[in-house]
């Protein structure tokens, strides 16, 4: 029997009839040709999350961001008027990467009044305008005012900074995010400024990794230890059910519900969980965030646990009942590799005890995340073997189904437009 109320149709999947219930192809995760289309159709057209506003604390603050699969890197800065801007990280003179520290491949951040190219010393204001050309009189017909940095569309929502690499985005960022994600606008993300950041280079398609983090069906079998130290707790047969699923345009979410760890009997906890009062759902002692938290737990589930928002194409925002949040980003680097980035955000610790609770949550993320990384390399190998072409997905995997359908729809739409307008 279902643990939670399902829609009138009987299942979440059938509530959204366009999804169908047929087995699904993962050809989109193993094909180099599809990957090339995906880069153009999705990553050069969608709004992409590149950072948080807290990374630009003052006028003149900047950070760089590599977008490796797009063969692009951007500078995101706050100019002297306080406006957040983004530019391609390329000098207008001879195309050198403009901002980097020790090596051009590594990201950097800092505070500056101007950007200076290491190669020939050209300078740019934080608004991107070229302000100085070394030995300017040696050039021919040089119009400095036409030699600024190449701007990239940039906008912020709820402190999340996004860029869009298309010439003219089809939607504003706010319209793109829609009502479901947009409802989080007033959530106190800005108070959670203590950040733990992680990076992982993985041997799987970006969608294969994202798929694992948009269903909880895999948790009891793969992360058996996560359930607790006792044989009763470690039951790989445990049946998980998401409490609520919702789709909105290209975006999707799932809400979890369950007994909160802080209410568990002591014998079902690891000693370090009891010591730190923390674990995989975060520190037990939640900060006071006020009564009303906009946008979270949209269906009002009792014993709300986590809201898992999947913002198309490659951002996941996990909001935990205990008052902290996590973001994941998946950056494709080829058809079967990607860079995974995770950021854990807490209201800053005020004491050593709080620091250790955050540390234990951050450790827990990595320990179980490594099981995902290890396993998903195996998924990629299995898919590439080609033994099967279609794969069954259950109702708890509705978001996986929606994700691959959305990716396919975007690629098809792009291919149609390209067919109608042949290259000049």
């Amino acid at each position: 029997m279902a643990r939670f109320q399902k829609p009138a149709e009987g299942t979440w999947t059938e509530h959204y009839p366009s999804l169908g219930t047929a087995p699904v192809s993962f050809e989109d995760s193993i094909s180099p040709a599809f990957y090339e289309l995906e880069r153009e159709a999705i990553f050069k057209r969608a709004w992409l999350h590149v950072g948080r506003i807290e990374q630009l604390p003052r006028n003149g603050s900047y950070f760089t961001k590599e977008l490796p699969g797009l063969r692009t890197a951007v500078i995101v800065s706050r100019d002297m008027q306080g406006r957040v801007r983004a530019f391609h990280n390329v000098c207008r003179h001879r195309g050198n990467k403009l901002l980097w520290e020790e090596t051009p491949r590594d990201e950097t951040c800092g505070n500056a009044r101007q950007f200076v190219c290491k190669y020939h010393g050209w300078r740019y204001g934080l608004d991107g305008a070229c302000t100085y050309v070394h030995q300017e009189n040696q050039f021919f017909d040089l119009r400095k005012d036409e030699l600024g940095l190449a701007p990239v569309h940039c906008d912020t929502w709820a402190g999340f900074i996004f860029v869009n690499l298309s010439r003219e985005p089809r939607q504003t960022l706010r319209d793109y995010l829609g009502t479901m994600v947009g409802a989080l606008e007033g959530y106190p993300f800005h108070r959670m400024t203590e950040r733990y950041s992680f990076r992982s280079e993985n041997n799987s398609n970006w969608k294969v990794f994202s798929d694992a983090f948009q269903e909880y069906y895999h948790v009891p079998p793969l992360h058996t230890h996560q359930l607790g130290p006792t044989p009763e707790a470690q039951n790989p047969e445990y049946e998980f059910e998401g409490a609520h699923y919702q789709l909105d345009g290209p975006h999707r979410m799932v809400t979890t519900s369950g007994t909160h760890k802080h209410n568990w009997p002591r014998e079902h906890l690891y000693p370090a969980e009891a010591l730190t009062r923390s674990g995989n759902t975060g520190p037990w002692d939640a900060p006071d965030l006020g009564e009303k938290l906009p946008g979270v737990n949209p269906s009002g589930i009792a014993r709300w646990g986590i809201d898992n928002f999947q913002v198309f194409p490659n951002l996941e925002i996990l909001i935990y009942e205990r008052g902290w949040f996590v973001t994941y980003r998946y950056w494709p680097t080829s058809h079967n590799t990607h860079v995974f980035e995770a950021d854990l955000h807490f209201v800053p610790a005020r004491s050593a005890r709080e620091r250790l609770a955050h540390e234990y949550a951050a450790l827990t993320f990595k320990e179980y995340g490594l099981q995902d990384v290890g396993t998903l390399d195996g998924t990629q190998m299995g898919l590439e073997q080609g033994a099967f072409r279609q794969f069954p997905l259950n109702d708890q995997e509705i978001l996986v189904r929606h994700f691959h359908k959305t990716v396919g729809d975007w690629v098809d739409a792009y291919a149609r437009v390209r067919a109608e307008k042949p290259a000049q």
Binding site: S200, P271, L275, L363, V373, G378
Partner: protein, 111 residues
Amino acid sequence: MNAALLPREFAEFEPWAATWCLARESERWAQRLRSSMEELQAFYDAVFPRAEEAIAYCDRFPLDSMPADAERLLQLLHSLLMVSYAVEVWKRPEVIHCGSARIDRILEPRP
């Protein structure tokens, strides 16, 4: 004899200090992976029983202006949590089923 690294109240942890008072997660992770299970268990068994007391000691000071010896004690507690996963959960230094996977922590609050 070397100067004490930890507060006098926790002198019994001194034998562990040189190995486990590490400021960064990357250092603590590397130390866990190059330790034997016997070494991890011995460190865990020595520190865990007084961990609550050590947390209370660190809590006497503001997080951003701890005396150096208390800050090292806090680092030792960070290492205890790192080691707890090997001792309590995996029963070995490495995560089970992680293959050659790596997840690097590239930013963290200090201390």
